[in-house]
């Protein structure tokens, strides 16, 4: 990424040598990402991240839209904004033009199959799936696929939307007509290059966390009243979400943070408030080590015990 932030910051839409170099970097990144996502390079639209990709997919299509109730807010709120329908996964709607179902849930890690969806157009938020699943295969049924760089260790603020050939999409951003009129705006060259580098690193050296996740789960399930919200076999190995009786997530997360365990409960939101759930979400990735698991297995049961002791 550094060359594109230091000397070589040409605008890829320009015509001179510096601009052409930047354009080449963007197109090489596009080729690389398209191969991983199982699409043609021309089907890939670079965006500012998962939220923009989701919004572009939902807002850009004609007709009636619907999404599952487990979607990320970026999909849920975009669907609600359009007056669309939110459905339970076991009761998909008929008579809609686009159905959106996420490949991997961002809070529980659960994996959804898209194969049975019966709709003219299918969108999938694959942001959380990218490091863990073969998205090209798992999302083969989808006409629109959202991905984001920071979920695979790339920079924040860059993402992409796959728009299959023949799917008409109206742009959210109007201007210079970049990305084949689907997303105007100067390219985030360093971000796009970083996105591709992260994908490359992920392919070359996929995060191997399943054994660590299983050890973490086995250890924490020894806490009384602790159970996984989704069976680990039905979830990606990078997310372990647990329900823990008689604790408040908000308090537990502060205790863990003070002991160097960075965890979450549900999704992140603007105010940073967590609420009253009894849920703990632990994420694992490339940087996770066995020592981290040992530390978590030491800290979390003690923190739960402290909260229960004071509450009693």
């Amino acid at each position: 990424m550094l060359p594109w932030l230091t000397g070589r910051f040409g605008n890829p839409s320009g015509g001179h040598a510096v601009a052409r170099a930047a354009r080449q970097a963007v197109e090489e990144a596009r080729d690389e990402l398209a191969a991983v996502l199982g699409c043609q390079p021309r089907e890939l639209v670079f965006t500012s991240g998962g939220t923009e990709s989701d919004n572009l997919a939902i807002a850009g299509v004609d007709g009636r839209v619907a999404c599952s109730a487990i979607e990320h807010h970026a999909v849920l709120e975009a669907v609600r904004h359009r007056g669309g329908q939110v459905f339970d996964l076991d009761a998909p709607p008929r008579d809609v033009d686009l159905v959106s179902v996420m490949l991997v849930n961002n809070e529980t890690g659960s994996i959804q199959s898209l194969d049975e969806i019966d709709a003219p157009l299918v969108h999938t938020d694959a942001v959380q799936a990218l490091p863990w699943l073969d998205v090209a295969r798992a999302a083969a049924r989808a006409d629109l696929i959202s991905v984001s760089a920071h979920k695979i260790g790339g920079p924040q603020g860059v993402g992409a939307l796959v728009v299959r050939e023949g799917v008409r999409i109206a742009p959210l951003l109007h201007g210079g007509g970049q990305e084949r009129e689907r997303r105007s705006g100067t390219h985030n060259v360093a971000g796009i290059v970083g996105f591709a580098a992260a994908v490359r690193a992920c392919k070359a050296n996929p995060p191997d966390v399943r054994a660590m996740r299983d050890r973490l789960a086995t250890g924490l399930l020894g806490i009384a009243g602790c159970r996984p919200t989704v069976h680990p076999d039905a979830a990606v190995p990078g997310i372990l979400q647990l329900h823990i009786d008689a604790i408040e997530s908000e308090a537990l997360l502060v205790l863990l943070d003070r002991e160097g365990v960075c965890a979450s409960a549900g999704a992140s939101c603007a105010s940073g408030a967590i609420g009253h759930s009894q849920v703990l979400r632990l994420s694992l990735g490339w940087t996770t080590t066995d020592a981290d698991i040992d530390h978590a297995l030491d800290v979390i049961p003690r923190a739960v015990a402290q909260l229960r002791r004071v509450a009693a």
């Binding site: 105010s271 408030a273 967590i274």
Partner: protein, 337 residues
């Protein structure tokens, strides 16, 4: 000490955190999210959370957001609505201190292992002869001891109110000197969950208003109101009274009938208190009595839950808090029946 400071996003709690750091404490900031309703202007809005978080960053302390919206709704908003529906005049800021800041937050702090909770209130907590005292602030004009009167010995032992020892001018200067973005932020004035439309609009969707007739002491109808639930003892305006006569005040509300009278008729000799709390052991005898947040304290006595005023005093609206002082020290308080 390990201190959790409640940072509202205002200048006082910002400086409270800074003062505690200076004093060598291990300080953690938090902001309570209390009201997700339509108000984004009072304290604890998203903008205020942002201000508090930024101040915590500038001071180099961790900052957390606690969502106590349910407790706030149950402990503050619902009782506020119910009190108005029953024709009383509640003080929601006092109930927030009682049920949220110095109960829910204190329990959260206990669970997390903090030794004390601090806020930016202007009042002083001091220890004398092994007992905790709740004292008026150094800055008399900003004194908030009235709204903290429910603090008892065990709570005061875990409460720090560092800005109560400074004038507001010094507090602002301190914030300015530290370059805190809250230095020039205006003081919050209104009840945080009441929006632009005011109390009437807030209550109109939550209480069914009863039209009322306004009568004088002789029972003659002299005016009308659209909602007896919004009428407060001592009120002069909005009663549909013909002008010209001597000022008339609401002296009683009985069902849908509002009784008005002269200032003399508004004056009473006593007020009966419910739900009395004491800072330390209960007292009786001479006290100074303060009947509103910025009211002038008047002389009186307390005996068996009845305050007798030394001189006839304007009647206290039922639901208002009556706080008892000796000198500058809060000794207890209750709610006017």
């Amino acid at each position: 000490m390990n201190v959790l400071v409640a940072m509202s996003g205002g200048v006082d709690s910002s400086v409270a955190a800074a003062l505690l750091l200076d004093a060598g404490h291990d300080v953690t900031g938090c902001t309570m999210r209390l009201w997700g309703g339509e108000s984004d202007t009072g304290c604890c809005s998203v903008a205020d959370v942002d201000d508090a978080r930024r101040v915590a960053q500038q001071l180099g302390i961790p900052h957390y957001v606690f969502d106590f919206g349910d407790e706030f709704h149950t402990g503050v908003v619902e009782p506020y609505v119910a009190a108005h529906a029953a024709g009383r005049t509640p003080n929601p800021c006092i109930e927030c201190n009682r049920t949220v800041k110095f109960d829910r937050l204190l329990r959260r702090a206990d669970a997390l292992g903090f030794d004390a909770v601090a806020t930016g209130h202007h009042a002083r907590v001091v220890q004398e002869d092994g007992r905790w005292r709740l004292r008026r602030a150094v800055d008399a004009a900003k004194d908030q001891s009235y709204v903290l009167h429910m603090l008892d010995q065990s709570t005061l032992a875990r409460t720090l109110l560092p800005v109560g020892f400074l004038t507001k001018t010094v507090v602002r200067a301190r914030a300015g000197g530290l370059g805190l973005r809250t230095a020039t932020k205006p003081d919050s004035q209104d009840v945080c969950f009441i929006t632009k439309g005011g109390r009437e609009r807030f209550l109109s969707t939550r209480v069914s208003f009863t039209p009322g007739r306004v009568v004088d002491g002789g029972g003659r109808e002299v005016g009308a109101v659209e909602a007896v639930e919004l009428v407060t003892i001592g009120q002069r305006k909005g009663l549909g009274l013909a002008g010209g006569a001597d000022p008339r005040y609401v002296v009683a509300v009985e069902g849908d009938t509002v009784v008005v009278g002269s200032l003399d008729e508004l004056r009473v000799d006593e007020v009966r208190l419910a739900a009395i709390t004491w800072v330390d052991a209960p007292i009786s005898g001479e006290v100074l009595v303060q009947c509103s947040a910025h009211g002038v304290p008047v002389a009186g006595t307390i005996e068996d839950g009845v305050v007798r005023f030394a001189r006839p005093t304007r009647k206290v609206a039922p639901g208002q808090s009556v706080v008892l002082y000796r000198g500058d020290d809060v000794r207890g308080g209750g709610i006017a029946r």
